[in-house]
Amino acid sequence: MVTIYEKKPGLSRRELLKRGSVGALLVISGSAVISPEHAWGLQTSALKPETMATLIQMARDIYPHDQVPDKYYAIAVKAHDEQADKDPAHKDLIEKGIADLDLKSGKDGYTGLGWEEQRVAVLREIEDTPFFQAVRGGLVVGLYNQKEVWPIFGYEGESYSKGGYMARGFDDIEWL
């Protein structure tokens, strides 16, 4: 199970500034990644929360959908934390992969690169690595198989219980 929970930030602006922040959106607090603006947090158990925050950014850069909130990318990469908890080799793959990504990105690391293009250029350098393929491959199901994101793309999912589309627009196209 993915442990994503709604959380009121409860942090003052000053407190937020004192803590490490990733980009402009995500805040690291203890073992959690928190989105103060959107009131959700993600607890990590095996991976460093900083690693998780970078993974979330990386996930968005691999499959960028501007209309999809960070929360769903966080859910999609959370599986790596769970797998890392069970499998030290996987933990190593992800932690080293993220460390390498930061190294290749210059002094402020991957999330320090301001433009998606800059980050994508770094990803292109590593796209054949097992690390990149593990993250990308996991996202194909992890991101797009979340029922909550389907409506964002206009996909309606299960239809049998509603009697199919016989009376719900299977042939409602009007612009042809």
Partner: protein, 523 residues
């Protein structure tokens, strides 16, 4: 009542596989009073158990046992252990199929004569003609309830079809309609009419689409002459010193090996598993595998020249609503070498849900070029290309040298390289599909690579001469007269049409032949 037959009963016909070939053959024989056991590797899921969810359904129905791949086809890179998207469940791939039911064309039974010798292609004429098969096509169309045959009305066109039809008209295509589908457009054969639910590939929860699971199999069981044994994975076919087959060794639901004795064995496990089983049944008498004196078992693997074209429009389409494949253009199915290739192709509507679109639109793709396509998912229309591919000896199923399955049986390796004719045809179809959508205002089109194979054909080919193939014109092994092949692996060449109707027609014809031969005591 389903008859449970004894393992030692050596008077039964044992069929391996319960799909279009095996399920049909089983019922046809049972209706004639012949005792039949169908060994099915998968479990039995009835249609109310099907799931309207792509990945969950895949986990329920798909054949996901390990296979390996090689060759230059892109599937080998993107899905190295999933060469085919077929089913392991009672009903086989008739649970998953789209329902398109087309007869092969006359020239497609005579490809060597029609196309001539093509370098790198192992073309051969079928030992039967369209005229031989026509009476059986008629029976099969009635059995399946194919729309636009037998006065059955066509299905209503959904949004995806309407886009295709508008584009077909603009391009001047003449033959574009919603048939011929083995999906009830009105209640028939005690089954519901289509409710335009989508999810045809996930098993029809209404039972409106023909599947052996809820037609042939229960009808056969009702005679008392058919037993379907699920979770029974065939491992080896045994034979006696005279070279006749005597029984089938299978792993039961607990993984325990059993032997079912048989008077006749019919192999119908799809074009990957059927040759795998024959090869795995090698003995000192048949060191290259059963029925393989020609050396053709496993060779000439065909998968149809496929691909998809998706188009994005500035207004919504909702292509996933309604029947997945009720829409076809047949104009390109003719043989017209002036296009730069022999043979032809069909264009058929297709849609995938968002999860599978993400997996199959451009496997391995990422970044905005990929994601902006998905951003317009509800503004997309889609079509599938299905055309005749060239048989090649090098394209083949072999037993993997090292990797074994849970029963210790070598897994199948699927090798496939495109022939230049396949590539030329696919490129032509990509161009036509893109032009069709552009003609209706598409702002972007995607030539999408082939999915893991759904039409697996040719690996136990039918031939006039024993030296050229594995089985004769009745699907009977040239080498062993009480061994039959009853699935698409007996296709000599693939044609441009979805193969199920032909598989069913061959099975009906084969049942007549087996019954005749049994009463004449020649087998």
């Amino acid at each position: 009542m389903a008859a449970p037959f004894d393992l030692k009963n050596d008077g039964v016909v044992v069929i391996i596989g319960s799909g279009a070939g095996g399920g049909t053959l089983g019922n046809e024989l049972a209706q004639k009073g012949i005792d039949v056991i169908i060994l099915e590797a998968g479990a039995r899921h009835e249609y109310e158990d099907f799931i309207n969810d792509e990945w969950d359904s895949f986990a329920q129905l798909a054949w996901t046992d390990k296979r390996t791949t090689s060759g230059d086809w892109r599937v080998a890179k993107d899905f190295p252990n999933l060469p085919a998207w077929i089913v392991k469940s009672v009903g086989g791939s008739t649970t998953h199929w789209a329902g398109a039911s087309l007869r092969l064309q006359e020239h497609e039974f005579k490809t060597l004569s029609t196309y001539g010798k093509l370098e790198g292609a192992n073309l051969l004429d079928w030992p039967i003609t369209l005229a031989d098969l026509e009476p059986y096509y008629a029976k099969a169309e009635d059995k399946l309830g194919v729309t636009l045959t037998n006065n059955i009305p066509g299905l209503p066109g959904n949004n995806n079809f309407k886009v295709m039809k508008a584009g077909a008209d603009k391009l001047g295509y003449k033959e574009c309609h919603t048939g011929r589908m083995a999906i009830n457009s009105e209640p028939r054969d005690d089954r519901n009419a289509c409710q335009q639910t989508g999810f045809c590939f996930q098993g029809c929860k209404w039972g409106a689409k023909w599947s052996t699971l809820y037609t042939e199999i229960p009808k056969g069981e009702a005679t008392g002459h058919l037993e379907v044994r699920p979770n029974a994975m065939a491992i080896k076919i045994n034979h006696d010193a005279s070279g006749k087959v005597t029984g089938v060794v299978y792993a039961d639901k607990d993984g325990k090996l059993q032997e079912q004795k048989a008077r006749i064995v019919a192999v119908a496990g799809n074009s990957i598993e059927s040759p795998r089983l024959l090869l795995n049944s090698a003995s000192s008498q048949f060191p290259d595998g059963l029925a393989n004196s020609s050396g053709q078992v496993g060779k000439n693997y065909m998968r149809h020249t496929t691909g998809s074209v998706y188009g994005v429009f500035d207004k919504p389409v909702h292509m996933y609503r309604g029947t997945t494949m009720a829409g076809i253009i047949r104009d390109e199915a003719r043989n017209d070498p002036s296009r730069g290739f022999v043979g032809g192709y069909e264009l058929e509507t297709l849609s995938l849900g968002l999860p599978f679109m993400a997996a199959f639109l451009n496997p391995g793709g990422w970044g905005r070029s990929f994601t902006t396509a998905l951003d317009h998912y509800d503004h997309m229309a889609g079509m599938w290309i299905v055309g005749e591919d060239m048989p090649r000896e090098e394209n083949r199923i072999t037993l993997h040298a090292d990797i074994k399955d849970e029963h210790g049986m070598a897994v199948a390796d699927v090798h496939f390289d495109d022939h230049a004719n396949d590539t030329a045809m696919r490129n032509h179809a990509y161009k036509q599909g893109s032009a069709l959508y552009a003609a209706v205002g598409a702002t972007r089109t995607f030539p999408t690579p082939p999915y893991p194979s759904t039409h697996n054909l040719g690996t136990n080919r039918m031939s006039e001469k024993a030296a050229d193939g594995v089985v004769n014109k009745h699907g009977q092994a040239h080498d062993i007269k009480n061994l039959f092949v009853s699935d698409g692996s007996q296709f000599t060449t693939g044609g441009a049409e979805n193969p199920t109707l032909t598989i069913v027609s061959l099975a009906i014809r084969q049942a007549d032949y087996i019954a005749e031969q049994m009463s004449a005591k020649s087998i």
